[in-house]
């Protein structure tokens, strides 16, 4: 070989291995074999585990949309980069989907040939006895007295009793058992595919929505009645079951943790009346006890207070009178609420209110709540006037008041004191607008209504997978052979076994077979 010339110079000798020339189909087959290899499956599995990590480090749009908005506000420079990488939708992102789709293709491509192979093996007889049993596992030799056929018949009986499929090959017995190991393995992997299909296809028919219901109010299952709604791809409004829920009463039970001063919630119970096609019924919804209505399930999410506020004009006519859900801000249910009065008064009025169920005054003069029960309910209000922005028909957030373009009349820098109301109190609004009253104190609950046709299928698939896993890991697949040779009225017996896959008990099984065979022979001859 000339070192100064390249190895593949035109007149150089071909010294390396001749690689096969693959055509397009050949390359496809090569690619397919690589994809369905154990090594690829292993690498994809580990990659899937690693790829799932980013979804736990940053908030996800599906689970925590508020967290995503908060992240955007706190990290305005980083947000677009991470969003471009689809990190806020990790589990529906292109790269995560690519990994598990490849993994499933690899799985299916491997499992289908294995199923065919197993189907044939299930119907085949155990193979012929190997010539040299001493090369197999657990080789044992014994002697027995009697006729060769009788001795082998005893052996067959012993093996059949242990659940083996037994075949006699001349002077030897071949036995096999543990087919369920491979069956369980295939069931496990097919169940995973079933989960994927169920979620992928039936998931399109999912929907869920949230709604705040105040005590005494009724919610009707219509698309417009929901506060927020998330439909699947195939959702159709006509699919909503016709029913209504009225919240009769919400009863929480609290205790006080004396070491920390924080309240401890012991129980939440919402008593509701459900009207559906079958009739009317009363139910209780608790946190771990949702209520099924038709094909949906209703879950108890949160709760709070909805003080009934009545706003009257200068003549005393009520222009606004309804309960207003105040959103809880801490564990003692200090709550924040917004009241908008667009019509009926001389100007459009917006009120920002704080509610304290058990109000107490701090040293600074500010109010706080000591406990989530309404022992001393107090509402404080600050009034704003101006254009509430509702007139132009653009929908505005009910729970937020944009005070940029409004004039503050009480509290803050206005010079006037904030309006403070106890239960049943009323106070005058500034500028002769009228009066506001804290009439009563109903509670509210927020419920979530789910319709998920994937649930039943995924549960069945998961249980099948668990059963398949148990058999595929713990049932040994093994073959046992007994070879006999007659010699001067004595039968020489040889035992050996072989397993497919992990079988730590194989040697013990062979020696146990020898022992039991011996017992069976002596049991027969003693009779």
């Amino acid at each position: 070989m000339e070192p100064l010339r390249p190895s593949d110079h035109h007149d150089s000798k071909r010294e390396s291995i001749t690689q096969p020339k693959l055509n397009a189909v050949g390359w496809l087959r090569f690619g397919w074999r690589q994809l369905t290899s154990m090594r690829t499956a292993l690498v994809l599995l580990l990659l899937l585990a690693v790829a799932a990590i980013p979804g736990s480090l940053v908030p996800q749009r599906s689970a925590d949309p508020n967290g995503v908005i908060r992240f955007k506000r706190n990290n305005p420079d980083l947000f677009p980069i991470l969003d471009g990488l689809q990190l806020f939708d990790t589990y529906s992102s292109a790269w995560f989907s690519a990994i598990y789709l490849l993994l499933f293709i690899s799985l299916i491509g491997c499992v289908i040939p294995r199923t065919l192979h197993h189907w044939r093996a299930l119907r085949a007889a155990p193979p012929a006895t190997p010539a040299r049993l001493n090369r197999l596992v657990g080789f044992t030799e014994r002697q027995a007295e009697g006729r060769l056929d009788d001795v082998l018949d005893d052996g067959e009986r012993v093996l059949r009793r242990q659940g083996y499929r037994v075949v006699r090959y001349g002077d030897s017995i071949s036995a096999e058992r543990g087919y369920i190991r491979e069956t369980g393995n295939l069931v496990f992997h097919f169940s995973l595919v079933l989960v994927l299909i169920a979620v992928g296809f039936l998931g399109g028919f999912r929907y869920y929505g949230q709604r705040v219901i105040v005590e005494g109010q009724t919610f009707t299952n219509q698309l417009t009645s929901y506060d927020s709604f998330s439909p699947g791809r195939f959702f159709d409004e006509s699919r909503l079951d016709p029913f209504s829920i009225r919240l009769d009463e919400f009863v929480p039970v609290y205790d006080l943790d004396t070491s920390t001063g924080f309240p401890i919630a012991l129980d939440y119970t919402a008593a509701v009346t459900i009207v559906e096609q079958g009739g009317e019924r009363e139910e209780e919804i608790k946190v771990n006890q949702p209520v099924g209505i038709g094909s949906t399930t209703t879950y108890l999410l949160g709760n709070g207070f909805a003080p009934w506020i009545t706003v009257r004009d200068a003549d005393g006519t009520a222009v606004f009178s309804q309960p207003v859900p105040f959103l809880p801000q801490d564990s003692n249910l200090t709550s924040l609420g917004i009241i908008k009065v667009p019509d009926g008064l001389d100007q459009q009025v917006g009120l920002i209110g704080f509610f304290y169920p058990s109000a107490a005054q701090l040293e600074s003069g500010a109010l706080t709540s000591l406990f989530p029960e309404p022992d001393q309910p107090v509402v404080t209000l600050n009034a704003f006037v101006g254009d509430l922005g509702i007139n132009d028909g653009v929908p505005r957030n009910v729970y937020a008041l944009d005070t940029e373009s409004l004039t503050q009349l009480t509290g803050g820098d206005s010079g006037e004191e904030s309006i403070i109301l106890g239960m049943g109190d009323s106070a005058q609004l500034p500028a002769g607008l009228g009066s506001v009253e804290f009439t009563s104190l109903p509670r509210f609950v927020s419920v979530e209504i789910h319709h998920d046709p994937t649930q039943a299928v995924v549960l069945v698939a998961a249980l099948l997978a668990l059963a398949g896993l148990l058999t595929s890991l713990f049932v040994p697949r093994r073959r046992l052979w007994v070879a006999a040779a007659a010699r001067d009225g004595v039968v020489d017996l040889q035992y050996a076994g072989l397993s497919r896959g992990d079988d730590p008990g194989l040697e013990a099984a062979v020696s146990q077979l020898a022992q039991q065979h011996e017992q069976a022979i002596s049991g027969r001859t003693s009779r």
Binding site: R39, L45, P59, Y268, V287, N288, Y299, L469
Partner: protein, 331 residues
């Protein structure tokens, strides 16, 4: 009831003390084994009289490699009397540990595994319990130092950082699934802990088999790395089945409590990651070239993920599954 809570705390600290002594004795046993091995192979080497000292030492180590004493149920694998004492103390420590768990349960009038502290208490008790019961199956007492040391460390961290007084069940945890899901999760953790310990010893043993390094001679008294690997596998697959059940039970409970059986909550994500890692571990066993070192590392990484799941995910990551019981500032 306050009496029982303080009794429980006393029992935990006593258990830690006993485990510490057991740990010291287990370590002494392993150290003693290192000095015993060359003496036991002295006889055959004596035949080569006149060999120079370094050559003799080399022959000693070579012979000790070929004449590996197999660890059997009588601990003839070089174990000293320190091991028997250590094992007895481990049993005593476990009884105290178990009593601590039971007292706490009676004091709280519910199952004693609803917050981070209680889960740590129960999972470590299960870890030692599984180790003790495993002796009926195979002699794994050489792992005693790892088990007791890890348990003392965990109990120390848990009692200092995560201790909370007994509080009643919040509504979200008032469910029969609390008993099932968390119990099986802690049992799975115990099995994975044992499997990870065996994997670590397997790695050490493999290094020693490959090069017969001068240090850690006690490794010669332990089963070979192939045996250790198959022991670790058999324990890890039990843990995997339990973890699969934990995942399914958690999903069923999530549907009852949060409205959906799977929502990629941080805890759910990490349970899935651990499940996938151990699925990879099982696959590695059937893949050419992935037995041995790589399998051992997969088991160790999987167990590290479990520790991460218990500590960091519970305390630092936000999610629905925040039942640590620790007082955090409201968001």
């Amino acid at each position: 009831m306050d009496n029982l809570v303080s009794l429980s705390v006393v029992a935990v600290y006593s258990a830690m003390g006993v485990y510490t002594v057991a740990f010291l004795l287990f370590t002494l046993d392993l150290a003693k084994r290192s000095t015993e091995v060359p003496q036991r192979t002295q006889a055959p080497v004596g035949a080569s009289v006149g060999a120079s000292a370094p050559a003799e030492a080399l022959e000693q180590t070579e012979l000790s490699r070929t004449e590996l004493p197999r660890a059997d149920s009588e601990g003839l694998g070089g174990a000293t009397r320190f091991q028997r004492a250590a094992f007895a103390l481990t049993i005593l420590g476990w009884v105290l540990h178990f009593a601590a768990v039971v007292f706490r349960g009676i004091a709280a009038q519910r199952v004693p595994w609803v917050n981070l502290f209680e889960f740590g208490l129960v999972a470590t008790a299960m870890g030692v319990g599984v180790f003790l019961l495993a002796q009926l199956w195979k002699d794994l007492r050489f792992l005693g130092a790892y088990i007791t040391g890890f348990t003392v460390l965990s109990l120390g961290i848990v009692t200092v950082n995560y201790y909370v007084d007994v509080v009643p069940l919040p509504p979200a945890l008032q469910s029969a699934w609390l008993v099932i899901h968390v119990l099986v999760a802690s049992l799975a953790t115990a099995f994975f802990a044992l499997g990870a310990g065996l994997s670590v010893v397997q790695l050490l043993r493999y290094r020693r088999e490959a090069r017969a390094v001068a240090g850690l001679r006690f490794l010669d008294t332990l089963p070979g790395s192939a045996t250790l690997e198959s022991l670790a596998y058999r324990i890890n697959i039990v843990g995997f089945v339990l973890w699969t059940f934990t995942l399914i039970a958690g999903a069923i409970w999530a549907e009852r409590s949060w409205g959906r059986y799977w929502g990629w909550d941080t805890k759910e994500v990490w349970t899935f990651i651990i499940w996938t890692l151990f699925a990879g571990y099982i696959h590695a066993r059937a893949t050419r070239g992935w037995r041995g070192d790589r399998s051992a590392w997969l088991a160790i990484v999987g167990f590290s993920a479990i520790i991460f799941n218990y500590t960091v995910v519970n305390t630092m990551f936000t999610g629905l599954h925040s039942y640590s019981g620790l007082v955090t500032t409201p968001s």
